[in-house]
Symmetry: C2
Subunit: 320 residues, 2 copies
DNA sequence: CTGTTAGCGCTTTCAA
DNA sequence: TTGAAAGCGCTAACAG
């Protein structure tokens, strides 16, 4: 496989000139440029990008850490990132963490070793002090509220949006409200539960721990939730569900079990995914693709750290 | 940021010795090793992986090209690949093609430039002659039957599995059978449609072009299909759907429109995804994660090309 | 406009 | 056991 030196020899010029031609730099005479181009043509020369990376100290690779790749929430963020990456000539390295800490650390290590120029962490697992140790090696961008930290983020205020949804449920006459969330831990999970507690306080309802369903990620979790609901002697009249997949699962199973929605059970989802539209589920819309776009842009240009909040929107449909 | 030379100087040894220590090569005296280790410690040395790549001509990066990242079919393959990649210390570069040819070519170009060691193409877009031009640059593995080509693949026989499902429908008494597929083009799409035509011939039924629904990818497509079904004056009594998401969409919408399943309309899906289980959809199970695993293994060890067929299994539930 | 040359940071051969 | 030195392929400062 030919390299830049071979081309230089073939074209009867220096490697610099070849480099200039390859990278479209000015100041190359027509003849030499042609000669180089011809040599490249006949020798089927391809530049070795690793040499470029080494030389430039930059890879045009952005890492992106997500817990699952088969989850629409993250898939949409990835889509936003992927589109913008394409526009800017960057490629993506995907780290599927399955919420395992060591996998997130692997991603951080790649940043350290300069195999990626920046890292976007969509759902942090590591403690902040672990992250801190990597901050010097390159930009790390988060999807959570980091206004109290020295790192950049594009985030939605989970406290605010959960509160908004809860208020809506209350406005619609519900007092016994339960919630379904993913992890209880992590900043986001905590914010949601805090919003829930504050809401209960405000409307003067007691906190029922069995009204909190956690580890809800997918359609299939809806089944367990409905089952548990049936077994309760004082079930909630409404459920705020942190993602549409789960909400859809609940709605589907409720129908099977002849639980009338929204009369016996009101459901409000999150994300406004296609399934929510089809199934007419009331939900909170989050501009995920846009969020991905902004995440990427921050990743490649993080001169000064900043935190930006993304706002959400209530989409009223038929499940409340 | 310290480099290997700095460490050598600090430890009072040569770069070679440092390299040996870093890479756990033998023949380093205890004292020198300790000295090097200490220097690494105090200087917070991190090896620059790009230099390693350049020097070795290998990146430990595997590219994986998928049309969408928010589709369970591909998400599961990615999961299988991701798991095995982890075991083997490889990282993944994700190319979301959206079925746009130039994005697939970008991936091929990265192979050419040696930024990835191999490429897995899960749903090819380019023509074969385009691919051919890249075969010399590194292993390219496919998810489609390539037994007539000089490239490796792990695939399921779409003709066979479609035939299997169609036979089952026929066995259950259906003669007016329609199909829902993704792309009509591409090897897989063609195989499916061929199986369909052969089936019709065999049972002596005419080919009705309106019985083929194409571009069906997601839950939401179910809605359009049901709508079209309603408008037909001679609708099929059964539908073979090439993926469970779509099948679920059809089942959901049918219920809304009071179309009784399986009595008025039988549905058989593909993939055996969680949603199929929840909704009791009869489906064809494909071991996607296992397929991902095998794809990866071939990608990193493709000395001699080979094609391996993955077999599928009918899962009988309540929609037929 | 063009070429020389010194890196980029690491691996590996070869000789000692 | 060890180290000098020659790459790996490309970029960019500098001199002309």
């Amino acid at each position: 496989m030919a390299n830049i030196k071979d081309i230089a020899k073939m074209a009867g010029v220096s490697v610099t000139t070849v480099s200039r031609v390859i990278n479209n730099h000015p100041y190359v005479s027509f003849e030499k440029r042609e000669a180089v181009l011809r040599a490249i043509e006949v020798s089927k020369y391809e530049k070795n990008i690793n040499a470029v990376h080494l030389s430039k100290g930059k890879t045009f690779l952005i890492g992106i850490a997500i817990p699952f790749s088969n989850h629409p929430f993250f898939a949409l963020i990835v889509e936003g990132i992927a589109n913008e990456a394409l526009n800017n000539n960057y490629k993506l390295v995907l780290f599927q963490t399955n919420y395992e800490e060591f996998r997130e650390i692997e991603a951080l290590d790649m940043l350290k070793q300069k195999q990626i120029d920046a890292l976007i962490i969509c759902s942090r697992i590591c403690q902040w002090d672990t992250i801190d140790a990597y901050l010097d090696y390159g930009p790390i961008i988060f999807c959570e509220d980091t206004r109290d930290k020295k790192v950049s983020s594009i985030f939605m205020d989970h406290y605010k949006s959960f509160s908004k949804a809860l208020e809506y449920l209350h406005f619609k006459g519900h007092r016994k409200v339960g919630i379904c969330v993913g992890r209880r831990t992590g900043f986001n999970g905590e914010q949601r539960i805090l919003a829930y507690r504050d809401f209960l306080n405000k409307i003067n309802e007691p906190f029922e721990s069995e009204y909190i369903f956690s580890d809800c990620y997918d359609f299939e979790n809806g089944e367990e939730i409905v089952q548990r609901l049936i077994n309760m002697n004082n079930p909630p009249s409404a459920l705020l569900v942190s993602n549409d997949q789960v909400a859809a699962g609940i709605v589907t199973c409720s129908k099977e079990k002849r639980i009338s929605i929204p009369h016996e059970l009101a459901i409000i989802g999150f994300d406004n995914q296609p399934i929510a539209k089809i199934m007419n589920i009331t939900t909170i819309e989050i501009p995920l693709v846009e969020m991905g776009r902004k995440l990427f842009l921050r990743a490649i240009n993080n001169k000064n750290i900043s935190q930006e909040e993304i706002s959400v929107k209530l989409v009223e449909r038929l499940t409340v």
